[in-house]
């Protein structure tokens, strides 16, 4: 299982990848796409496509599944464009999460690190939306 983190900000996903590795360990492949090609805030379909392809891997290290987590607004549009370019066989193992980017990435990586499949990892990321941050909320 691999994860792709998509954000309008490169800094945000770089920091999130660091945090994910600290919590879940280094065994789960995490690729990132953040900001536009020229380094501004925004999203770029080619950059996302590259991150997704890197997450899928090659013949020797092909992932069993890829979960993509994204931030807001047009990230979803750019991601859609990026996914259209994929081969059907690759597209079939990629799932897009509606879970929150930070919490979703952390729990997805932890479940992936213990061998959970795409279905379970996606479910954990989606459930992250409902976890209370403070007791009683």
């Amino acid at each position: 299982m691999s994860l792709v983190l998509v954000s309008h900000s490169r800094t945000l996903v770089e920091g999130l990848r660091e945090m994910v590795a600290q919590v879940a360990g280094d065994d789960v492949r995490v690729t990132i796409a953040g900001g536009t090609q020229d380094g501004r805030l925004g999203t770029s379909a080619p950059q996302i496509a590259e991150a997704v392809r890197a997450a899928i891997g090659g013949p020797e290290d092909r992932a069993e599944g890829v979960l993509v987590l994204l931030d807001l607004g047009s990230a979803a549009l750019s991601l859609e464009l990026a996914l259209e370019d994929l081969d059907p066989a690759d597209r079939a193992i990629v799932r897009v999460s509606s879970g929150p980017l930070v919490e979703g990435a952390v729990v997805a990586a932890v479940q992936a690190s213990v061998g959970a499949d795409l279905e379970d990892v996606a479910a954990a990321a989606a459930d992250a939306l409902a976890v209370p941050k403070v007791p009683g909320s």
């Binding site: 600290q22 919590v23 879940a24 360990g25 952390v106 729990v107 932890v110 479940q111 690190s113 213990v114 061998g115 954990a124 459930d127 992250a128 409902a130 976890v131 209370p132 403070v134 007791p135 009683g136």
Partner: protein, 96 residues
């Protein structure tokens, strides 16, 4: 069933890094492992379920394991929590 009660001591609760490590250790065992906090229970192999317990300093939790390697699971998980928790009952309680 193997059961052990613990009180969480660490000032920042069972924070995400140890919680993630706890999930990774629990996942090595075949037994079904449950963490109880108050009237709520969570699958110890799911981080999202554990975070949902909102365990805080002073929280009393119980670890329960059911399965062929239950004693080992409880021993390993208790060791994992040692820096963050105190044993409430001292010894493992075997319940039928």
């Amino acid at each position: 069933m193997e059961r052990r009660a613990l009180t969480i001591l660490d000032p920042s609760g069972l924070h995400s890094r140890p919680a993630a490590r706890f999930v990774q250790v629990a996942s090595r065992f075949q037994s079904r492992v449950t963490v109880r906090h108050g009237d709520r229970a969570a699958d110890a192999k799911s981080l999202i379920a554990l975070l949902g317990l909102t365990i805080r300093p002073g929280s009393e939790i119980a670890l329960e394991a059911e399965g062929p390697d239950a004693p080992d699971a409880i021993a390993s998980l208790t060791a994992e929590l040692a820096p963050f928790a105190a044993l409430t009952t001292g010894t493992a309680v075997i319940e039928s």
